[in-house]
Each structure stands twice: as C-alpha cells, then as structure tokens.
Amino acid sequence: MSVETENLEQLVNRRYAHGFVTDIASEGLPPGLNEDVVRAISALKQEPEFLLEWRLRAYRQWLEMTEPEWAHVHYPRIDYNSISYYSAPKSDKDRPQSLEEVDPKLLETYDKLGIPLHERARLAGVAVDAVFDSVSVATTFKKKLSEAGVIFSSFSDAVREHPALVKKYLGSVVPQRDNYFAALNSAVFSDGSFVYIPKGVRCPMELSTYFRINAANTGQFERTLIIADEGSHVSYLEGCTAPMRDENQLHAAVVELVALDDAEIKYSTVQNWYPGDENGVGGIYNFVTKRGDCRGTNSKICWTQVETGSAITWKYPSCILRGDNSVGEFYSVAVANNYQQADTGTKMIHIGRNTSSTIVSKGISAGHAQNAYRGLVRVMPQASSARNHTQCDSLLIGKDCGAHTFPYMEIRNPSARIEHEATTSKISADQMFYCRQRGISEEDAVNMIVNGFCKEVFNELPMEFAVEAQALLNVSLEGAVG
C-alpha cells in the first residue's frame, strides 16, 4: 500500500473533529409535547401573556397539520413525544455579567471548537451572542452596539425589554401556520437572537451567533428575528457545529428578516451540524424556515450559506420582494457526503415593481449522498419589470450519489425577464490528470477543483467566513475520492 493511500485511508476514517460533549448539568423538561409543556416553557422564560397565547395558537395549529413528505429526503418517522423541548445550562440561574463569569467549561467548549470567544470577538470586531443549547449565556460588545442604538440580544431578553417590537414583528414574515416545522418552532421555541437596527444606522460591526447543540435528546428550536429600520444596514453571521452523537437530533429553527425602506440585511450561514457517521448513523435533522421580507422600497436582503453538515437539510431561505425596487439574493454551497441528504434552495416572490433577484446555487454530492436544489421564482401580476437570474450547478463525485434540480418558475407578468440555467457534471478525468501531473495529490486536486467550482459563492461570504468555509469544504469532502 502506498504512503498516499494510507494517508487517504486515515483521512477517510478520521472522526468528526467537533465530536465531544461538554459535561455541564442540564436543566430540562422531560420528553413529550402537550399544552402544558408549551405553558411550562413560557413560564420558565417568564414570558408575557401575549407570547404564551401566540405559542398556544401555534401548537393547536401544529396539531392539525401533517408532516410534509414532498422533499427529496428519506428518514424514519420522528416521534415528537420522545423529544425534550427545553434544556438550559444550569448556570443560567445566575446569569454571568461578563465573560470572566462564564462557566469555564463552556469556554472550554469554544476552545475545542477553535473559536476562543473573547479573543475572536476582540480581534475580529465581532459581537458574539452565543447560544449554548437553548439559552444565551454570553453577549459581548453590547455597549458599543447600544451606543449606535442597535439592539442585539437573546430573544428572551428582547421579549422582556422590547415587547412592543417583538409583538409587532414576530410571525409577520413566517406566520405560525406557515409549515409544519415553523408551527412546531412557534410553539416551543427556546431562545434565539433578536436584532433591531434603528433608522439610518449602519451596524458598526458584523453580528454573529454561534449555535451549539449539546444535551442529549434535545431538539433545538431557535427563533431569530432581525429588523432593519429605514436606511439601516446589518450583516449577520450564523455558524454552527455540533458534538458527535449516535441518535438523530431535530433542529427546527425559524429566522425572520424584515427590511424596511432603503434597508439592507446580509445573512450569512456556515452550517456544520453533525452529519452522521460514514454509515449514515446519527446526525442532525435540520428543518429550517428562513424568510426575509423586503417590506420597504429599495430594500435588499442577501442570503449566503455554506451547508456542509446535518444528516438531513431541509431549508429554503427566501425573499419576499414586496417593496418597489427591492433586491433579493441567494448564494449557496451545499455539500453532501456519505449518507447525507440535502433538499435546499430558495424562493423569490416578486410583488413590488422593478424588483430583482439573483440565485447562485452550487451543490456537491459525494459518497451515497443525495443533494437537491429546489427553488421557486414567482412573479405576481403587479410586479412589473421583475428580473431574475438563476444559476444552479451540481458536481458529482462518486457513482452512488445523486444530484437533483427542481426549479419552479411561476411568471404572471409580461414584463418579467427570467433566466434559469443549470448544469450537472463530474470532475473530469482531464482536470484531475492535469493537477496530478503537476504533483498535486488527488485529495488536494479535488479540493482545488471544488473550491474553484464554489468560488462565485465564496466571493459573497464575509471575510470571517470565507476562510472557514473553504476549510470546512475540504473537511467535508474527506474520503470522497480514492
């Protein structure tokens, strides 16, 4: 066996680098879901009456809904009564006032992840609202942000401190009934982030939240709400890693973005949840509803995502282009290896006049993975001069994987200009030969070609994510060739 093959085998057999469980006692509700659980979550979080009612309405609607089956993914039925719907680190009872007071074990977790919170925050100028399991435990740079008038807090804090804002915008983009998983999230969401950028403010730094699933059997149900008031600008970074575990964990988050007149929101995600092992055992079920509402004229929402993790990804970050001249963008790289399944894409709903949208989606399938792009471009009758360009490309690595494209175009205005193009191909033998001939190893050659394939999307990523994303891609495709 050659040295190179040996290395390759080591790489293939390398275990998930972020697989560990931090030993912090969790305070959680017993598994099961009923109205009492919803009430208990609301009570634990000391929520006002309106929110409890809102949750209960969502729960009752969820009971009437059926789990969607149209996605190109297969998984055993989820028993929603076997999941614990609330878990929080114990130290939450006396909330730390500063980073020094944060449970050292938690900081240790971040060290293992390679994101020393305070250093990273200081060096990169990023404020981090870290969600560990379900309750946010550390928020930094609050002062600097509050000077600018920016509200960046955990969702629970926002409910306490800014109930009027929460009441006004919560569910206004993703209503409780929107879909099965959004209804579930609306009923039992544990925590999340809340951002409000006041009129005319350009957020002085990029906002970032790290999510992390920890305690066993805990579904994580974050709720994120970002409101960019007139003329404001914000860039939000979301990144995740999860510890190794053998049973599937459900993750059903909801993200709502509201951009008013002339506002701009850039939402970037690097998703690296545990994808399951090389036999498809374990891994996260990631059923997420993300939607942005370009409510004002000249508003803009840009979604950028790098999806490398999760056993199953079911996610369609969308833009409702309601305001005249509003702009929606979606840049995505989705990598599926081993037995991962991804059904992801976007929806662009053109309602206002002169709206435009751009979709660039790159899907990479390797191993036994199935990777589907599902997108919708809808131009309503009143949306004159709408413009859309969609490009979705798939790359196949290996003979057992699948790449699928399901683009829907519903055009009801004669002045619309819609273009859609898609290609599917594999890494050609010529490309590989060229690289190998120049002494580049097979693994490096694949990484290089794949990185080139994804370049259009990486160019749209914020600096902080660009490097991480490339590294993640390389890690995700380990063992895909050979």
Partner: protein, 428 residues
C-alpha cells in the same frame, strides 16, 4: 371528491360500447380509474392543471347516454387533403376503416388491439387517464412497422371529434411497434368541431426496437371549446432514435404527457415543441425522459408564445438512473409573454443518480427585445411588422427543425394563422 366518477356510471358506459366485451383488462382499468378519479391539483404533476372541467364533461357525457355524432366527412376529407400522408382516421373514438388507406400501406401491418394489452410500457399502465382510455376505447389499433419506410410518405393518424348535438367524449388508442432496423414517419393530427364541449383522451404507445428510427410530428388544432389529454409513451431500445415535434395550436385545455424510456445503449431522442397560448386556453406539456442505461441522449427544446388570459405549463424532467453513465441530457424552454394576464409555469427538473453524466437545462421567460424592434424600425420596418418578424422568428426555430421536412409548408401556414390570432393585424 368532485373528480370522482362512480364505477356504476363507468360500467354503464362500457356496456354501451358496440362490440366490446367486458374483458378482464377493461374491468381492471375501470376499477383503477374509479378508485383514483381524475388527478387533482394536490398531486405534484397536476399542480397547475385543473381537470374539474374535464370531469364535468365526462359526467355529463356518461349520464346523457347519447350516441356519438356521426363523422364530419367534409372536414375529414379536407384534413386528409391538407397533408400528403397515408391516413388512418378516428372519428369520435371510432376507427373509420374505409377512410384509412394507411392500414394497408406497404411495411405496415395493422391489427385490433382487442385485449388492449400494452406491449410497450407496462410500468406506465397505472396512471388514471391511461386506465380511463384502456377501459373505454371503442377501437384500439396496433401497427407493426417493418422495413425502412423513411423515404415513404408519412403515416397519418387523424383524430376528428365532433360535438355538434351534445357534450361528448372520446378515447383513442394506438400501439406502434417498430421492428428491429425499421424506419417510419408519423404525423398525428388532432381536430375537432361542434358547439358543445368535448373531451378527448388519447394514448399512443410506441416501441422502437433495436436500430429502428422514427420521425414523429403531432399537431393539435382543436376548437377552443374542446379539451384534450394526450399521452405518448416511447420505449427506445438499443441504437434506436426518435425525433418528435409537438405543435399545440388549439384547444381549450390541453395536457400532453410525453414519457420516454431509454432502455437500450445508444438510444437517443429529440423532443421539440411549440405552443401558443391565446385567451381562454390552458396548455400543459409534461415531458419525462428516463435514462435507464447509458450512453444515451435526450434533447428537449420547447417554446411558448402566450398572450391574453391564458396559462402555459411546461414541466421537463430528465431522470438518469443508477448506472446510466454516459448520459447526455439537455432541456431548454423559452417563453414569450406578450400581454398582461398571460401566465407561464415552467419547471425543468433533473434527477441524477449516475456519475458520468452531462446534463444541462436553460429556461427563460421574457418579451420581444425592444432593441431588436428598434433596430428593425431604424431600417424602415414599422413596429407591427417588426414584432411579427421577431415573434415569427422565435417560433421558426422549432418549426424549421420539423423531423418531417415536407410538413414545413403547412406548419408555417398554421403558425402564421396562430400568430394572426395572437396579434391581429400584426401578421400579414
């Protein structure tokens, strides 16, 4: 469910069919349709097409207990004269043997498909509309083609339905088998007349045995009161080739299902289409190509021109099965939306389970290029003529690719007539 039709109603209709015994196959098909009913919009493949009007026509027709209209002979003769082909004529679902010289054309052997046993595509038998067709077709026809007939005049299949006296419905069913190494050309023409509503349900199964080839043109030009669902199942064996072009120039609600199974290495198909949407029309083209083995090639190219309150649906799908390496599949769909209230729903899909494939699709929706119009106007061409030239050129890309070149003249004529309807005065 309002699209359900009871088994009793269907059985009564079956008993009324002259000379048809209740074979097991018919009864099975009848039960299948009764269980499922007409497909509803909650089914993904029928998301944009509502068959409730067709269900209503069928119910009225089933309960009316009326004999179908006699054939409109003048119209049949006119249609036969318009294209030089060896015709086989169906009027209201009945095969008119006396008017069908195509049945005795050299290289063609015709027989009744009495048992209605689909030679072609057993796995496609279970869709409800095919079941309805299998249960209630008056006459089935099986054509076997031998030898190279590529230079002979095409075999014409004319369906002419009349709804002069009452609401009516008809089922037409043709199975075609191309012997190994044979070649044939077909032109399928769908026409209808009458004030009353009519629903026609056609199924054609075509098996191309190894090294055979087939050129196939389908022209649908029904009356604006009349609706049609049509299914063409193609099964292509090794090194067989099919070129198919579909022209939808009429009808109220039209749904075409084109299913291609590429089951032999080296099989290839070219699938072209042109559809016109005018006020009150709904035109839905669903194409699915299954690349079961590789290397195999499929090319889809459809164009639509829509104006007024109408809806176009285009759903092209290429499925590359595991192991079908060497597949080359392309899909292209372009649409011109010429006025308000026109709507297009396009969905080019790829499902790929093999590695060594080359698949691509492109879809556009837009208008005539204002700069191109301006360019023509600077050359002294008035605006309406400029629009005519550009719209005509958009359609001509499909017309000129007609697999049967002799049809170019008549296709051009029909397209120009349709353009005239779309923009009166624009086309001279």
């Amino acid at each position: 469910m309002n699209s359900q039709i009871s088994i009793q109603e269907l059985t009564r209709a079956l008993h009324r069919l002259p000379g048809t015994e209740q074979t097991t196959e018919r009864r099975r098909a009848l039960q299948l349709f009764a269980d499922h009913g007409f497909p509803g919009q909650r089914e993904e493949d029928w998301k944009y097409t509502d068959l409730s009007s067709i269900a209503k026509i069928s119910r009225t027709w089933l309960s009316a207990d009326a004999e179908p209209d006699g054939p409109d002979l003048a119209r049949i003769h006119a249609a036969m004269a318009s294209i030089d082909a060896a015709w086989i004529v169906f009027a209201n679902g009945s095969l008119l043997r006396d008017l069908s010289p195509g049945l005795s054309e050299p290289g063609v052997s015709a027989s009744d498909a009495v048992e209605l046993d689909v030679v072609a595509v057993p796995n496609r038998r279970d869709d409800p509309l095919s079941a309805l067709n299998r249960a209630l077709s008056r006459d089935g026809l099986r054509l076997q083609i031998k030898g190279d007939n590529a230079a002979a005049r095409p075999i014409g299949i004319l369906t002419l339905d009349a709804a002069q006296t009452a609401v009516s419905s008809s089922q037409v069913r043709v199975d075609i088998e191309l012997a190994p190494g044979s070649a044939a050309r077909f032109v399928e023409l769908h026409l209808s007349t009458g004030e009353h509503e009519h629903y026609s349900n056609c199924v054609v199964n075509l098996v191309a045995n190894p090294a055979s080839s087939c050129d196939y043109v389908r022209i649908q030009q029904r009356d604006i009161n009349h609706s049609q669902t049509a299914r063409l199942n193609l099964r292509l064996q090794q090194d067989s080739h099919v070129r198919h072009a579909a022209f939808d120039l009429g009808g109220k609600l039209t749904r075409n299902d084109l299913q291609v199974d590429l089951v032999g290495q080296g099989a290839s198909c070219v699938l072209d289409g042109l559809y016109f949407g005018v006020p009150g029309r709904h035109i839905d083209n669903h194409i699915r190509v299954d690349h079961c083995v590789g290397p195999s090639t499929s090319m889809q190219d459809y164009r639509g021109i829509l104006t007024g309150k109408c809806r176009g649906v285009w759903n092209g799908k290429a499925v590359v099965h595991k192991g079908a390496d060497g597949t080359d599949a392309t899909q292209s769909n372009h649409n011109l939306l010429l006025s308000e209230h026109a709507e297009i729903n396009a969905k080019p899909e790829l499902e790929i389970y093999a590695e060594d494939v080359k698949c691509a699709h492109g879809t556009t929706v837009g208008q005539l290029d204002e700069q191109a119009i301006y360019y023509l106007r600077t050359r002294g061409i008035d605006e309406s003529a400029a629009r005519r030239i550009l719209t005509g050129a958009f359609a001509a890309i499909i017309v000129e690719k007609s697999p049967i070149p002799e049809l170019l003249g008549i296709l051009n004529e029909k397209v120009v007539a349709e353009l005239q309807k779309i923009a009166p005065g624009v086309v001279s």
